[in-house]
Symmetry: C2
Subunit: 245 residues, 2 copies
């Protein structure tokens, strides 16, 4: 599943340096440090590379040492998700601007998630388990309520809003989540070749789109994704107004 070890980047005993001044090497073990390191490992080698034993190794410590700072692996993964969520810089909620006020909210979320694409799937289940996620949801609900959506629609749409962002990041073309950094380029090329080898008569448009699917600017990709969602809610809100129940 994971390539047979080799290439490690993490902090390690530089040599068998004696106690005093162990150089840059491993930082002190702590819950925060463990979570940070886990996110780093996921960023560079994929989420599958995150294991209790591996992280312990990076701290030059026994695997069981981690269990003092973290309940178990599931809790570590949950904490990674919440850490990402808490890194969102919450925007202030403007008094007016209608549904367009959702835009900064979604942009900030994209900004935070895109820093850790490989760990973004972890966020999905943890949004409502941290303050930042709840505040973000509450803001979205406020904006949607102002636009006239009832409780049920608000719930659905706020959910869809945040999940659309998760989807954008996880499904970003060329992100190749869960593939280690080093193999990403090769992976992309293999995919592109596969598409190029398809029968042109059966999939003319698909082949035509292949290039656009791979070399795409992340900034416009995210902007367009957010735009699509906003266009959707705006249209739905307009329908409500024109034929009110």
């Amino acid at each position: 599943m994971v390539p047979p070890a080799s290439a490690r980047t993490g902090p390690r005993k530089a040599a068998k340096a004696t106690s005093a001044a162990t150089s840059a090497a491993a930082p002190a073990l702590s819950r925060e440090a463990v979570i940070d390191r886990a996110l780093e490992v996921a960023d560079h080698e994929g989420l599958a590379a995150v294991s209790i034993r591996r992280i312990a190794q990076d701290f030059d410590v026994t695997p069981m040492a981690l269990y003092w700072h973290v309940k178990n692996k599931d809790e570590l993964l949950a904490a990674m998700g919440e850490r990402i969520m808490d890194s969102v810089e919450l925007p202030e909620l403007a008094v007016d601007g209608g549904l367009q006020r959702l835009r900064p909210l979604l942009e900030r979320l994209v900004g935070a998630l895109a820093r850790h694409p490989a760990s973004t799937p972890l966020v999905q289940a943890r949004i409502l388990h941290c303050d930042t996620g709840r505040t973000l949801t509450e803001q979205a609900l406020t904006i949607l309520a102002d636009a006239g959506f009832d409780t049920r629609r608000r719930a659905e749409l706020s959910r869809a809003a945040l999940q659309s962002v998760v989807m954008l990041v996880v499904g970003a073309p060329g992100a190749e989540i869960d593939v280690p950094e080093v193999e990403r380029q090769a992976m992309r090329e293999r995919k592109q070749q596969m598409l190029a080898g398809l029968p042109v008569d059966r999939y003319p448009l698909l082949i035509d789109s292949a290039a656009a699917m791979f070399d795409c600017d992340p900034a416009t990709y995210y902007a367009d994704g957010i735009e699509l969602f906003l266009a959707g809610v705006t249209a739905l809100a307009a329908r409500r107004e024109h034929r009110p129940a």
Copy 2:
């Protein structure tokens, strides 16, 4: 990670029945049978419960026997994703109807994915690796091209269309993917209690929506999700028409 064994549901030697007529028990080992069983296990116990050794056990066979039918675990997971994708009943592409022709396409996809929510994450990366997925994409691209979207926007939007469906299924309220069937109800109740315990002054709308987030009808949830996407593309297409470059 996975609860400590116990409760298994799969086919098993009923007793130490002698060769001839081993009753209903384990079907013949084959690539198809392995994939089917893996999907069943994921459906009932979550994707994490799918292991080479476990599936082998369910067939009363040595783990290494599976390697004859399947290259390795990654290939098994990929095959599960493609199997789901191939179970989509492709709609015929109507000649007219504009962007609304996307609807049956998305509905069929939801239909197929919703049968295996726990394994739906596997579909994401495999869409373009099977005929059905490519055909579906080609159809989406055709509809989007007819609506006037250029190559880049077509590529983006077809991608967004299929991923939105994956997201709808994976993020379905109360689906609790990756949690074994037996614990799902308990999990839902824990979440609901957590929301109920929140400070009402900070999260008034969130708490108000809590009920709507949990007891929701899957049919309208999916219909609304598809509607949101269609409203979005339709609005974007309309903008293009009114101020053409």
